[in-house]
């Protein structure tokens, strides 16, 4: 049974910083949105929470690629997370949640699961 989701508008193009990340607050908690203008697709969204420290910091990491894989490095303990799959390159038992992301006009939207209360209302 697929959980119900919605495409939540989280920010606009103006909020993005090229080759870097920003953090947004969603129905599903804190999410990091990255904009890598030279890639196709150029937008990525993963959980903002670093699984190793439990702190909300991933949007503040350095982006780049390792063997072609787009990644962000955790600013605390420097592990790399794939922006496509959320898997940690140093320890594949650790992974962060990945969110589908799309550009709708100048709105950035993320597909997030609907919270309990919201799904009743929907």
């Amino acid at each position: 049974m697929k959980a119900r989701t919605c495409w939540e508008a989280v920010c606009t193009v103006d909020d993005l910083v090229a080759d870097s990340g920003i953090a947004v607050w969603t129905e599903d908690g804190p999410v990091a949105v990255f904009y890598l203008p030279r890639r196709l697709p150029a937008l990525f969204a993963i959980s903002h929470t670093d699984p190793f420290s439990g702190s909300n910091v991933l949007a503040r990491g350095i982006t780049g690629d390792i063997n072609g894989e787009p990644v962000v490095a955790s600013p605390l303990y420097k592990q790399h997370f794939s922006l496509r799959t959320g898997v940690c390159l140093e320890d594949d038992s650790a992974r962060v949640k990945v969110y589908p992301v799309l550009l709708d006009g100048d709105q950035i939207r993320l597909e997030v699961p609907l919270a309990q209360a919201a799904s009743v209302a929907a």
Binding site: D15, A23, P30, S55, V57, R60, I62, G64, L76
Partner: protein
């Protein structure tokens, strides 16, 4: 206290808890025989075994804990019964019992590791207060106490230890002199020419040298505490005297119980380190092997290993002598002596090189047929030591023109002996007896880098003298096995940091993207981006939040604060030289209170405010800037603080205004981007209260100006800074620091502190001096100009950031929810302040 010893175990007693005794215990307790013995150790000194070789560092701030070779816990874990401050007073060989003032202890095996004691010449009056020896921590405490209120100090004995003691007196702020009986300094290791050059260099450093002086009496002085009378009727007045006239093996116990001892002292041992009594063994400086006492630590360690093996019934274990070559830095002067330095071998011939201008002397002693190197003497420059030592130790055939080995390179000198040319038996690390063959084995067993080889073989973890050679051998062996020793920065750039710096500078590249497109590949990563960011900052000094640069910075640089474990930040405003007005201090307090920031004083004489959220940072900085604060760059690879003592303004000993100089330096170099963080300090006199010698740049005031020390380090791998230049005026000091800093910034590797940079710099300290003080590369002015440009374009990053609404946008914690707080940041209170809740999961 151990209640009882298991009946079935034998007892092994070690007398002496010095360097060699401790090394023996390390070896023995790891061996199978350890199971069969209860070990008891008696030490006369009250401290646990410590590194006597580095004893002098005690005066530059190392404590017993820093010098200690093990811990009481380690002894307890090994089940060793340790009795410190309890000398053994007699050995009863018939009943196999040793006695101490506290009791009697039976043994099955006894090890004497009693070391040696300093010889004090029988001079009338040598026992009055003000006369000392230089061997133990207690000796140093006594010297230090006596140096308070003293002005002058004399060392009797111009050998290796004597010169080291003279340096120590100098570092205590005394006017030091050396009195030597022989016609030259270091008579054992050097010849007349070398001794004369060393003397000249030492006198240049302000230490007076008197040779051919025999002291006949010591009496109370007229203008100082003591007067030394010499056989030629002359005299010298001084406040304190340190005797360093050689050492004698500590064989008192052995003599008293009738063990065989040498004519001039020393407990006679055989190749298995056993004495004339099969139950008693002797190792280290108290032992006499083949009529020879070894006054160095490495042979002692070899004896310790041999004995441990022999007690494990290894019949092949044998001590077969040791090499007495020495390489050291005395008062900052390189001195090296190898093998038969005095050409005593029949038919030996000499090759000498002496450059009086730069003060380098090198002598090679070669065999009659000119094929092998028998010995060598080096003064002023030890860069040829490793190569010469390998030729001598391994009997490698000399090249056709052996003189090339000691000629300066520009005159057709031969390059250093490649690691490849060494035989497998070549000893690379004598402290831990590691040969080239051992290193190859370690690599074949899977070690793939220098760190791995060090951990596996222990090479270069003793005196550290072999570090450079070890690296060469490891690199060359890895290369041979097809492991590419990759110096590439990362997968995006096949260049070193230095090469990238050059590319950026020469081609005028101003963005990361530009550099990547022209010289790299891919998108970059968290290694190359900050590195290039730092290079760009050094070259062009643009604001680090300029749009192109944002994605390059580490989070701390991006948000200009230090991220802590829960994702909040700490804030460190600059407090130049540690000087702060009460009003500014009040502002810090008010801001901290308003935002409930945990407040702590840092080691760099400033105040750290913890627990600010991302979105609070600009508001907080607005307030700090309004009160006149600037960013402290605690987050950057850049100048941190210039620590200072209060100096001549207040301190009764101060000879210069150290605070003023610290503020000048801090204001000059603040904001400068470097390969790693840079710390400085300024002390107002030689008492060195600012601990300048543990900093990247340390400045110590003298009567005439400033002494500059470079490339020191505290932290994980402490390094004592090297004396770089003396008695500089204010302008000279700043010019010299400008040059060294810029040269470091340009040539160091990514994340390389100045200490490691110096250790890897080919030619080392001498080379750096040539580049900076003699301008041998002709880049002095360019370096100064570059620094002047950087100083001229300084801006407080926080000031620029808070004034720019676009930049402030970066500090939104959640861009779409300004009111949302981060739920994982939970707080509790402790000792009256707020702190994060530690995760319970």
């Amino acid at each position: 206290m151990r209640e009882e010893y298991t009946m079935s175990k034998q007892t092994l007693i070690v007398i002496g808890n010095g360097m060699v005794g401790h090394h023996f215990l390390e070896q023995f307790s790891q061996s199978p025989a350890a199971e069969a013995y209860q070990v008891i150790v008696f030490g006369e000194e009250k401290q646990l075994a410590y590194d006597r070789v580095h004893l002098s560092e005690y005066f530059s701030g190392s404590s017993h804990a820093d010098l200690a070779m093990g811990t009481a816990d380690w002894y307890a874990e090994q089940g060793i019964d340790l009795h410190l401050n309890e000398p053994v007073t007699a050995i009863d060989r018939d009943n196999r019992v040793v006695t101490t003032p506290k009791g009697a202890y039976p043994y099955d095996q006894l090890v004497l590791a009693t070391g040696s004691y300093p010889f004090v010449p029988p001079i009338a009056g040598n026992d009055q207060s003000g006369c000392f020896v230089y061997r133990t921590l207690d000796d140093l405490d006594a010297i230090q106490a006596s140096a308070k209120g003293a002005k002058t100090g004399v060392v009797v004995g111009g050998g290796l230890l004597g010169l080291e003691a003279a340096n120590a007196l100098k570092s205590l702020g005394l006017q030091a002199s050396v009195v030597e009986f022989a016609p030259r300094l270091m008579p054992v290791q050097l010849d007349d020419q070398g001794g004369a050059l060393l003397r000249q260099k030492i006198e240049d450093l302000g230490v007076q040298v008197h040779t051919e002086k025999a002291t006949t009496a010591i009496a109370p002085g007229e203008n100082a505490r003591l007067r030394m009378k010499f056989s030629d009727e002359s005299f010298l007045e001084t406040d304190l005297i340190v005797f360093s006239a050689g050492i004698r093996p500590q064989d008192t116990l052995a003599r008293a119980c009738g063990l065989e001892v040498g004519e001039r002292g020393g407990i006679v041992i055989n190749n298995q380190c056993t004495t004339s009594d099969p139950h008693i063994h002797a190792i280290g400086e108290c032992a006499l092997w083949n009529n020879f006492v070894f006054g160095l630590v490495a042979p002692g360690y070899t004896m310790a290993r041999t004995l441990s093996a022999a007690l494990n019934n290894d019949t092949s274990a044998a001590f077969t002598g040791a090499d007495m070559s020495t390489k050291l830095k005395l008062l900052g002067v390189d001195v090296g002596s190898i093998g038969d330095a005095h050409a005593k071998t029949p038919g030996a011939r000499n090759i000498r090189f002496h450059d009086e201008q730069i003060g380098h002397y090198r002598r090679m002693v070669v065999s009659q047929d000119g094929k092998t190197l028998l010995g060598a003497i080096l003064v002023g420059d030890n860069s040829h030591y490793d190569t010469l030592l390998q030729y001598a130790l391994n009997g490698i055939e000399l090249p056709k023109n052996p003189e090339a080995l000691i000629l300066p390179e520009s005159e057709g000198g031969a390059p250093a002996l490649g690691a490849d040319a060494l035989p497998d038996t070549a000893s690379i690390c004598s402290c831990h007896n590691v040969t080239k063959g051992d290193i190859c084995c370690a690599i074949d067993a899977g070690c793939s880098d220098l760190g791995g080889v060090k951990a596996e073989t222990k090479a270069s973890t003793g005196c550290g003298g072999c570090t450079a050679l070890l690296k060469k051998v490891v690199d060359s062996e890895l290369e041979k096995r097809g492991v590419e020793v990759c110096t590439d920065l990362c997968e995006h750039f096949s260049y070193t940091r230095q090469e990238l710096f050059h590319l950026v500078k020469v081609n005028g590249i101003r963005t990361f993207r530009g550099l990547l497109e022209q010289h790299g590949q891919g998108d970059g990563c968290d290694i190359c981006k900050p590195t290039v960011g730092s290079i760009l900052a050094t070259c062009w000094n643009e604001h680090i939040l300029a749009t192109d640069h944002v994605p390059l910075q580490d989070t701390n640089d991006t948000f200009m604060a230090n991220m802590q474990k829960n994702g909040t930040y700490s804030i460190v405003p600059r407090i130049p030289g540690g000087e702060i007005t009460p009003d500014k201090l009040i502002v810090l307090g008010e801001v901290a209170k308003e935002y409930d920031l945990y407040t702590k004083i840092t080691g760099g004489q400033r105040v750290d405010l913890f627990g600010a959220t991302l979105s609070q940072l600009p508001e907080i900085w607005e307030k700090l800037i309004a009160a006149g604060f600037e960013t402290g760059h605690a987050y950057g690879k850049s100048l941190r603080t210039v620590k200072s003592c209060v100096g001549s303004t207040w301190c009764r000993y101060g000879v210069q205004d150290s605070v003023g100089m610290a503020i000048t330096l801090e204001d000059r170099y603040k904001g400068l981007r470097a390969p790693h963080k840079v710390k400085m300090a300024v002390s107002g006199c030689t008492r060195e209260c600012a601990e300048a010698q543990s900093k990247d740049f340390g400045v110590i005031a003298t009567e005439k100006g400033w002494n500059l020390y470079v490339c020191g380090n505290g932290g994980m791998r402490p390094r004592h800074a090297d004396l770089f230049a003396t008695d500089l005026s204010d302008e000279e000091l700043i010019r010299t620091i400008d040059r060294v800093v810029m040269f470091y910034v340009r040539t160091a590797d990514r994340l390389q502190r100045t200490s490691v940079w110096m250790e890897n710099l080919e030619g080392g300290l001498e080379y750096l001096k040539q580049v900076v003080l003699e301008d041998s590369l002709g880049i002095g002015e360019e370096l100064e100009q570059h620094m002047a440009d950087l100083v001229g374009t300084y801006q407080c990053e926080w000031k620029t950031a808070v004034e720019d609404p676009e930049k402030r946008k970066r500090f939104r914690e959640f861009v779409n929810a300004p009111e949302q707080t981060d739920p994982v940041q939970q707080w509790t209170s402790e000792r009256g302040q707020r702190r994060p809740v530690l995760e319970s999961a």
